[in-house]
Amino acid sequence: MTITMSQVGGIVRRKEDPALIQGRGVYVDDIKLNGELTVAFVRSPFARARIRSVDTSAALAIPGVRAVYTIDDVRSLGPLLAQIPIGKLRPLLADGVVNHVGEAVAMVVAQDRYQAEDAAEAVLVEYDQLPASVGLKFSATDEVKIHDDLESNILHTWVSHDWWPGVFELEDYRPAIAAAKERDDVVIVSQEMVNQRLIPVAIEPRAVLADWSHGYDRVTLYTSSQIPHAVSGAIAKTFGLPVNAVHVIAPEVGGGFGCKLNVYPDEILVCFASHQLEAPVRWTETRREAGYSTIHGRGWIGTATITGTKDGEILGYELDAMADMGAYSQNLTVAIPVLGLYAASGQYNIPVEWTVKCVTTNTQTTDAYRGAGRPEAAYYLERAIDMYAAEIGMHPGDVRKKNYFKKEDFPATTPIGLTMDSGDYITTLDKLLIDADYAGLKEMQAQARSEGRYIGVGLSSYVEVCGFGPSILAEFGFGWDGYGLPTSFSGSGLVRINPDGSATVFIGTGPSGQGHETTWAQIVSDRLGIGMERIRVAHGDTSDAPYGIGTFGSRSAAVDGTATYEAAEKVRSKAADLVAHMLEASAEDIRFADGGAHVVGAPGHTVTWAEIAEVAYKPHKGPEGIEAGLEAHAMFSPGNATWPFGSNIAVVEVDVETGNVDILRYVAMDDCGNVINPMIVDGQLHGGIAQGIGQALFEEAVYDPDGNLLSTSLVDYPLPTATDLPMFELDRTVTLTDVNPLGVKGIGEAGTVGSAQTIVNAVVDALAPLGVKHIDMPLRPKKVWQAIQDAQEA
């Protein structure tokens, strides 16, 4: 179904913005409660050590200090809960051993943060240092086995043809690919590549504030989270409470990007301390400790191999990789590679064999970071395809087109048995090649080369799988069962017409910058004809929102947006009965627009929403027997994920004297189905692309061999600044999906999934005349310069 109504598809200034641009938005750290106390953590300086003793006496003697807690105080609460409990679960505080630098050993609670930090310095911890296991290849040898109670540092191995035993019967492509390799008309390209570990760096550090009410026997937790309902479940399960005794509020969330899609020990610990000390307890992460206390992302090394004919037919794509899980498994840690597996074949109808080993190391936990597995998948595949195209001397666009699923193939089944809803990949790529003037760029490149300048043109395609998701995936672990909430990833929305005719929309998902308040108001305004200014969208508060899964995996619009659309439909249906009664017309003839309703063909025959609401709340004025009130809740459980896609082109110039990379142009052609607010969709792409460029050029979480995190500040972990990025040139195609009635697919991660390899492909293209075939990210000047020297020497 195509949505062609006034608000959906329109540019609407955001409802969120007036507060935020005036400094009047409220984030967790802006909330103050009477008598609150503040936490500082004592953190391990060692990557792996036995804790001999913890002496808190000096800390407790500091004025203002109320308590110092260790694992002995909280062991009975059990470890931190996780969805996929493969690997070692994280103890709430270090239990006898520490397993990464920065692991919290003790928690100090004091009257203010300055005192708490002083006291944390005064806690004396004696350690016996143990050898650490850092680096995937080393850790996978089990030479230093990290956890005594686990068999191996290799926690699990995901294999594409057997990723969900008992559910999918899949072809093992290994024999076919092995046979193809024996053919004499094939070429084989193979490259080991690093997809480096990243630190998410939401600009708002995480912050928590707990207020345990002994009088009302419930706890309120303010937390900067993408998943407030899941957090409430985890707290309830941990403390043995019913979930309705835990009230979680995520107010403004200053960026999430997946790192706030987790339940963290601090969220549990401040509740514990608030209960013990009978006072509100707060903790706000510093940027430095965010490297220790918030999850990291990516961290893969793998060898990608393409076997294909000399005229561009790919006969097999293999990836043999390891993914760094860090020391402890949290929410979805070990499942992140599966999300990559979902997108392993990209836009291509090719045989795929993937093996990803999940390896524990003495480092911070990894989990979902924008794209979560899918950027890694796209990176390996699209780098390998570019190498293959270069090897056989074929246009990189032509190689891709030759192997794409074609429009008529949809719905298309991927090699791992999933069904892609819709796609028209060639149209999108062709439009991109024309928009960017690919042919002209290659001419410009040739001209530049003749002048001694190194310009590169990089192309890549991606498929994102998002809109999670189908209820059946809860059986795999994509639900909140681990947090004591037996659920799937369904969406929810509640639309309430208030007695004055305004509307309040309660949603089960919430923004961390994505503009939900605006987009959801557009959906409801469209269905009901209520003005945007008369609609308030409420989110992030578990006591008033319908049960909700949260914001991640580019799922909100496609799943919760659809639920809200369906709730609005229910309201519309009942309101039509009311208006039919009021205007003495047939309900089928009632239309909603311009702040009220009218009879079709008789636009003068109108009632306002205030008048409709009055009849709803005074049922004696309505049709005989009608129930009072006017609100509806709907949940939506999609039958499939959605599969947005697109292709990107980057144009870069490399200074071969310094290794510096300049991005001259970045052109993206994305297809996310229907677009509710093009301004917001483009904004999601801008930010997503910037994060992919950050990975390509700048960002890397670096551990030394002893497990010290060397990149804990924004000086050592450089994000892209305004001078590093170009204006982005965006355009789109629209291929609808029938997975949901809005026809929307999701856009939150597409920019990130599509961009890193586009940049690397461009840099390698620039340096091809110098013999450079690959450089591992991040492509900082020194590394690029070194790659040029190495290629020249070779």
């Binding site: 938005g25 600009i203 708002e204 200053g254 910058g513 483009d682 904004g683 600044t721 305004a722």
Partner: protein, 167 residues
């Protein structure tokens, strides 16, 4: 230590530890929470305020160093209901997503166009280089400041990307 300064046109007094950062004084003592903290190395710029008209990262200053100074925070930018042109620009050109870097970004943008009423794209990018945004890729922030600069000059702002794209 006693400290006094003018904040958003109002004379304020405080009694602070010498080590108290200006940003903590603004947030905790004055309850002006629009000034944000995103790091502790003066790198992210979320805490940017104007000190005697200069865009300054308020985590780099002690409160006592601001003795006698005139401070403007994001809360002091609008004149009643009338937004500052940079605030208006951010709203009109989708210059913010999560909003966390936004106050600092607006303060830097306002200082930039006060010093240079007609900045080029390149000058805008350099002017906000000390402010990090993780959401927008800066594209719409640059557009927002271009809008604001035009408004402040009394000119019609350049069209939005989407005004060009959408009929």
């Amino acid at each position: 230590m006693k400290v006094s300064m003018t904040v958003n046109g109002r004379l304020v007094n405080g009694d602070v530890e010498p080590r108290t950062l200006l940003v903590h004084f603004i947030r905790e003592e004055l309850a002006l929470t629009g000034t944000h903290i995103g790091c502790e190395t003066s790198y992210c710029g979320a805490c940017t305020v104007h000190v005697d008209g200069e865009a300054t990262k308020s985590c780099t200053m002690l409160a006592v160093q601001a003795e006698g100074a005139s401070i403007t925070t994001i809360e002091g930018m609008a004149m009643g209901d009338e937004l500052h042109p940079v605030q208006e620009g951010f709203w009109e050109r989708h210059g913010l997503q999560c909003g966390y870097c936004t106050p600092g970004m607006i303060m830097s943008g306002a200082a930039l166009i006060a010093a240079n009423p007609s900045p080029t794209e390149d000058e805008i990018r350099h002017g906000i280089e000390g402010n990090l945004c993780r959401c927008t890729g800066y594209h719409n922030i640059v557009k927002s400041i271009e809008y604001a600069a035009a408004k402040a000059r009394g000119e019609t702002p350049p069209p939005a990307d989407w005004e060009e794209a959408v009929v």
